[in-house]
């Protein structure tokens, strides 16, 4: 573990990404404590440009709501959706992939055809349809993002498991009469996890983008403020008030960039071939 942190801290991209992520998490957790007011509250005159009043540093939107407060609360929604939906996708994808890879044969065929069924539908279109059918809410958004993002996890895990299950230590475990679930959970999965972790960090970034896109299209949870919603709501007045769209847009950009950098850092740290070269 110490080795892991050491190597991740060695890669500059990993460090930058980690700093950004910690900052975003800090804002999401502690930010609302600094802003006890709801971000929906109309606090100042509408279309107040940024940097004119210290109470609303980033200006106000079309209804006079604080853009800065919106960004702080938006961080909470964006990160939460990103993390939870990725978690759900992993919980669905890993067992399916592991079972397909380990048992092979008919089970593999069945599970992979099922996975492909989801992969053939364009993921964003499917997400839109799901949210529209289930009525936009934070639950339906998390569900739909999870539904469209688990297939790559399943395929990746299956591939890893396929190559690991022919290894000698796995065969040894089979010979000693260990149960299938013990072998999958204790012998195979721990060794298959590194690429999954890298993938997961990128999935969080994708999920944040997906949530923003949904909110941008007006399919966000109407009761929660999010960055995508702010960009979408400000889009039509961009000629009069650029700041309403630009600041949350930059927030999306930075957090997605941060997560991608972390993914790269993790890849460097966890890929045995790369780390050996580095040594």
């Amino acid at each position: 573990m110490k080795q892991f942190w050491k190597s991740i801290l060695k890669s500059p991209s990993g460090v930058i990404g980690l700093v950004i992520l910690l900052l975003a998490i800090g804002v999401a957790v502690f930010g609302p404590l600094l802003f006890p007011n709801s971000p929906w509250r109309m606090v100042q005159r509408p279309f107040l440009p940024p940097f004119t009043l210290s109470t609303v540093p980033l200006g106000t939107d079309a209804l006079g709501r604080d853009v800065f407060a919106g960004m702080i609360f938006g961080a909470r929604v964006s990160l939460l959706v990103g993390l939870v939906s990725t978690l759900v996708a992993l919980v669905v994808g890993i067992p399916i992939g592991a079972m397909a890879g380990y048992f092979g044969g008919r089970i593999d065929d069945a599970l992979m055809r099922f996975t492909e069924f989801f992969q053939t539908i364009p993921s964003f279109a499917l997400a839109i349809v799901l949210v529209a059918i289930l009525q936009p809410s934070i639950y339906s958004i998390v569900t739909s993002i999870a539904v469209v993002s688990w297939p790559p996890v399943a395929r990746l895990v299956r591939g890893e498991v396929l190559s690991l299950r022919t290894r000698e230590y796995v065969q040894a475990a089979v010979v000693t009469g260990q149960s299938n679930s013990w072998i999958i959970l204790r012998e195979i999965l721990p060794n298959a996890l590194s690429p999954v972790i890298v993938l997961a960090s990128l999935m969080v970034a994708t999920a944040i983008l997906l949530e923003s896109s949904l909110s941008f299209l007006g399919l966000g949870d109407p009761n929660l403020i999010s960055w995508g919603y702010m960009v979408g709501a400000g889009r039509t007045v961009i000629r009069q008030a650029w700041w309403i769209t630009v600041f949350p847009g930059v927030a999306i950009l930075i957090s997605v960039l941060g997560l991608n950098l972390i993914g790269e850092g993790l890849n460097d740290a966890l890929n045995p071939r790369l780390s050996r070269e580095g040594r």
């Binding site: 709801s38 929906w40 509250r41 109309m42 509408p46 079309a62 209804l63 006079g64 009525q135 936009p136 007006g218 399919l219 109407p222 009761n223 709501a233 039509t236 007045v237 000629r239 009069q240």
Partner: protein, 516 residues
């Protein structure tokens, strides 16, 4: 000295220009936006907003209405009402011809009335009090009513009762009649061509009965599906007229400031769109009058007017818009007063039960308004959950009474008996409809007042009855009245006299002219 001369010159120019401005000029082409593209132009069968806007210049009604909604002659040049207020005699204008050259006569009026009863829901309703219609001669039509009906002279507007050519429609299948696609009316403009998705072209009727009119040679109704593109089309000069509602509200101030641009909120008096929140009177906390009153106090309607509607419109005082007949502002007032709202909620024993809010899915403005109202209500301690849905989904929920608070706006049609009573009388409660009495308010006293008001004579009696009804309703708050909406028409200042009636652009091109 040069300065003084210059000033004098400028003044002289200005004066002579304004003196000339009184004299209409003939000729020219006007490009106007039509949004959205109408489903068809046969006004007797389709009454969508855009259809009324285009076809109101092709067809005509017996009467026209001033901005104050006084009846004015159109196809009928004069009319008289009998002593008992049950017989209305219209003298038709002589020498009027359809666009195909055939003369317009009383027989066309009789035919139109019969046809509209089958094809036009509102006309059928308006004509419910009519016992019989007769034509003693080619230029006279007599309507005999079952009982006096106060608003009767208000039902002859072109969109409510357009005259249809009998010789082209009688004995045909109306739905498949070829003239639906190339309508023939008596109006100042004739249908010329319609390039679907691009434009509708109307040309001057050279045989129009009012000599010299219309002044304009051609109208192009441009079809531009995107709101931003419509604004740009005006800015670049592709169109000269943006009728109400064709651009987003936040673009209105920017476009209004452009050079040579004139803006007016007039021309909607007949419709007088009034926005309110349906409050579901049947169940939950909103069944309590005090909670409904609290909602009125909690919502900052001036904010909505100034910020969301960019200062357009007027805060509503009650069920009638101030532009329609028998309006009174002598009713209980609900200023923005969160403290009072809180007190009322406390008194009613409201304990934070969840209340569902259904905004109107008509675009940005309505979405923002939903957010502002939600925040207002949360500020006084109500627990609001916004339900987001599309237009069809929202209509479904409202029709099924599956909502607590829902946005809407409805037309008033100039008279409380035509456009107001329907929203409050208990006979208008029916599942599945998105207008009429959706809120489920039922009060025998109100039922009686509106029933009496429709048939009372004379006018002063009606006024008294409706004043009483308004007072009573505002006290009870069956729905939360928000704003009298205003849809500004934006146009180049060189377009003159376009809006002179209570329905504005819908029949305005008859008098419009271009100052070149």
């Amino acid at each position: 000295m040069s300065k003084r001369v210059l000033l004098g010159l400028l003044l002289a120019c200005g004066l002579s220009a304004s003196a000339l401005a009184q004299e209409p000029k003939t000729g020219g082409v006007i490009n106007a936006v039509i949004q959205p593209e109408p489903p068809g132009l046969m006004l007797a069968m389709i009454q969508n907003g855009p259809t009324q806007m285009v076809s109101g210049n092709i067809f005509e009604g017996l009467l026209r209405y001033s901005p104050k909604l006084e009846p004015q002659p159109e196809l009928a040049e004069s009319w008289s009402v009998s002593e008992d207020a049950k017989t209305y005699t219209f003298k038709l204008r002589k020498g009027v011809t359809w666009h195909d050259g055939k003369p317009f006569t009383a027989a066309d009026v009789l035919f139109s009335v019969e046809m509209l009863k089958q094809t036009h829901a509102r006309a059928r309703n308006n004509l419910a009090q009519v016992d019989k219609v007769e034509a003693p001669d080619d230029n006279t039509v007599v309507f005999t009513l079952k009982q006096p009906f106060g608003p009767f002279l208000g039902i002859f507007e072109v969109g409510s009762m357009p005259m249809v050519p009998k010789h082209l429609y009688e004995g045909t299948d109306w739905k498949t009649n070829p003239y639906n696609n190339a309508p023939i009316g008596t109006g100042p403009f004739m249908f010329k061509e319609w390039q679907k998705g691009s434009f509708i072209r109307l040309v001057k009727n050279p045989n129009y009965y009012e000599k010299g009119k219309p002044y304009i040679d051609e109208i192009y109704w441009q079809i531009i599906p995107d709101a931003a593109a419509r604004s740009v089309a005006y800015e670049t000069g592709k169109v000269d007229v943006l009728p109400g509602g064709s651009v987003e509200n936040f673009d209105v101030p920017r476009l209004s400031k452009l050079k040579d641009t004139c803006v007016t909120g007039a021309g909607w008096e007949f419709f007088s769109p009034l926005a309110w929140l349906w409050l579901n009177n049947r169940q939950g906390p909103l069944a309590d009058k005090r909670v409904r009153q609290a909602i009125m106090y909690a919502i900052d309607r001036d904010f909505a007017k100034d910020v969301i509607w960019n200062g357009l419109g007027k805060v509503a005082t009650g069920p009638s818009a101030s532009t329609i007949k028998y309006y009174t502002d002598d009713v209980p007032k609900y200023p923005y007063d969160p403290a009072k709202a809180k007190a009322l909620l406390k008194e009613a024993g409201y304990k934070g039960e969840k209340i569902r809010l259904l905004p109107l899915a008509y675009g940005e403005t309505w979405q923002r308004w939903g957010e502002a109202v939600k925040q207002n209500l949360m500020d006084v301690g109500m627990s609001i959950e916004t339900i987001s849905t599309d237009v069809a989904g929202g209509n479904q929920k409202i029709g099924d009474w599956d909502y607590d608070i829902a946005f809407t706006y409805l037309y008033q049609y100039g008279d409380p008996a035509l456009g107001v009573g329907r929203n409050y009388v208990s006979s208008a409660i029916a599942k599945g409809q998105v207008f009429n009495n959706v809120e489920g308010y039922s009060n025998p006293e109100i039922d009686k007042l509106f029933a009496d008001g429709a048939v009372a004579t004379p006018d002063s009696k009606r006024k008294e009855i409706y004043a009483k009804a308004q007072k009573l309703l505002v006290e009870d708050v069956p729905v939360a009245w928000m704003l009298e909406l205003q849809f500004p028409t934006i146009m180049r200042c060189k377009v003159k006299n376009l809006i002179t009636t209570g329905i504005g652009v819908n029949d305005g091109f008859k008098d419009a002219w271009l100052d070149k």
